[in-house]
Symmetry: C3
Subunit: 209 residues, 3 copies
């Protein structure tokens, strides 16, 4: 079940990457690279940091095929009426939620401390989108917008706490997915964001310039 949700997350994130490629007028190869980077980038960095060899998509290339198929579908579908923004946002939130839990679980398999496991969950969820934005020449959206990573962090914390204190394995998984989804969709619906850090002392502290 989680495996299929994980593949669904790959599919959705690959669409997100393909759409970004379309906005930048990349060619066919560029669309596939952005699809792969968005869908697999977070998990790849996680596995590298954990020393989790082989990397998940090297061990099981179906992840690659799903991302490429998503890219091709996005290109073909670009002549049809668009999906509504809402559908895409809900799909993206599901991807974020599943990636968070999958990443946290994978990290716990390497007996790291809880804070590391939570970080790995967040990285699985958000680093792909950061690579997508950097390849597209933009400051990663995730660093300047509404509740996104925060939802992922909360999901990871809930997962770790319920696993540790209540020993509920399957239930923890779905509870954490639910928490991320609820926070993310709630933030979209009520347009809630984190405070922005405006540094008021502009020039004074440019220590590196």
């Amino acid at each position: 079940m989680i495996y299929f949700l994980d593949l669904f997350g790959v599919f959705v994130f690959a669409i997100s990457g393909s759409l970004a490629a379309g906005r930048k007028h990349l060619d066919l190869f560029g669309v596939i690279v952005l699809a792969l980077a968005t869908a697999l980038g977070g998990g790849t960095i996680r596995d590298l940091i954990l020393g989790a060899q082989p990397i998940f998509w090297v061990a099981d290339p179906i992840y690659i095929y799903v991302a490429i198929i998503a890219a091709l579908i996005t290109i073909i579908a670009s002549r049809t009426p668009p999906l509504t923004s809402t559908v895409l946002q809900i799909a993206d939130a599901i991807g974020l939620a599943v990636f968070t839990v999958v990443g946290t679980q994978r990290a716990l398999g390497f007996e790291v401390q809880p804070v590391i496991a939570i970080m790995m969950g967040v990285m699985t969820g958000v680093v792909g989108g950061m690579i997508r934005d950097m390849l597209a020449g933009e400051i990663p959206l995730i660093l300047r917008r509404e509740i996104y990573a925060t939802a992922s962090i909360c999901g990871g914390v809930v997962y770790i706490l319920t696993i540790h204190f209540l020993h509920m394995d399957v239930l923890s998984t779905y509870l954490a997915i639910f928490i991320v989804l609820a926070l993310r969709l709630g933030a979209i619906h009520w347009n809630i964001s984190l405070p922005i850090f405006h540094d008021r002392r502009k020039e004074g502290n440019r220590m590196n310039k």
Copy 2:
């Protein structure tokens, strides 16, 4: 022979990185960093993903020396009449072809599936140039221009197929190099490119904005 072609590829890619640094008015250190990143970046990412320790240039630092020498030569030569664009493009195509085959071979040594071996060949050939462009503050050229990665993919496929079905080892190597070269130089000569993905539904699908 392949070893020398590989070092030639490093040399050529390092020149490409140095020229990009020159266009951005980087300092001496910046030129060397872009030379190293362009020449060694693809193989480094490949080795990290394969878990191929030690990384090729840690095991054999001659790769570093060749890249640094190429950077210094580029700087010194900037006062002389330029090489023609054609000479540089042919050299770059040779680098792409050799890197593709070397990367695919290296991956096969780790008993990965064919699709992974092909990806590792392409990454060896193109990721260095992508890092170069991102360090220079640009959207990677490779994502929006004529046949480049596609030539690399075709070379990798031919290599895998001929190795697998015909068991010709040395011949496969040269055949694959020839395929990449022919496709890349043909694309330059006839100015062929991949179709560009123009998404027509601009605002409607910006699911992350």
Copy 3:
């Protein structure tokens, strides 16, 4: 002692990342990501390339806590009068010096060749700042400004030479730190920089365009 200097370096580099985030109006999560990336990015890439598992901050999460605390202090302190630019530059130079020596030492523990150890020291010192600038959408400062990486390289060379020929362990450490500090602060004080590479043959050598 070196351990505390190392944590001090993490603290200072995290402030540098937080200030960059403030200039780009990132949100709270963005500030923490830039703080972590600047403070831990160089050592992370170093450990990945060396195959040094577990990564230093996975083994000892105090590095994460120090970086996050530095980010929070930077945000809170943004309402107070700023530290002078000079204080920040000296702190940054200490961070560079300590990271260089720590990185070189860590590499020597993996029995790599001297040139690799020096590279690892430089990467520990400068790659975090490069990631910070790329995340903030800028060409890395390090590639186009005054003596910075050069100070780090000289410190690494001095460390390797004195360890190898004079077998002075603790003394080498402090000598190398002093060399980096002296060169870096001297470069700031007298405004010395590396020559910039202006390529005069603009269009002629754009082999990739």
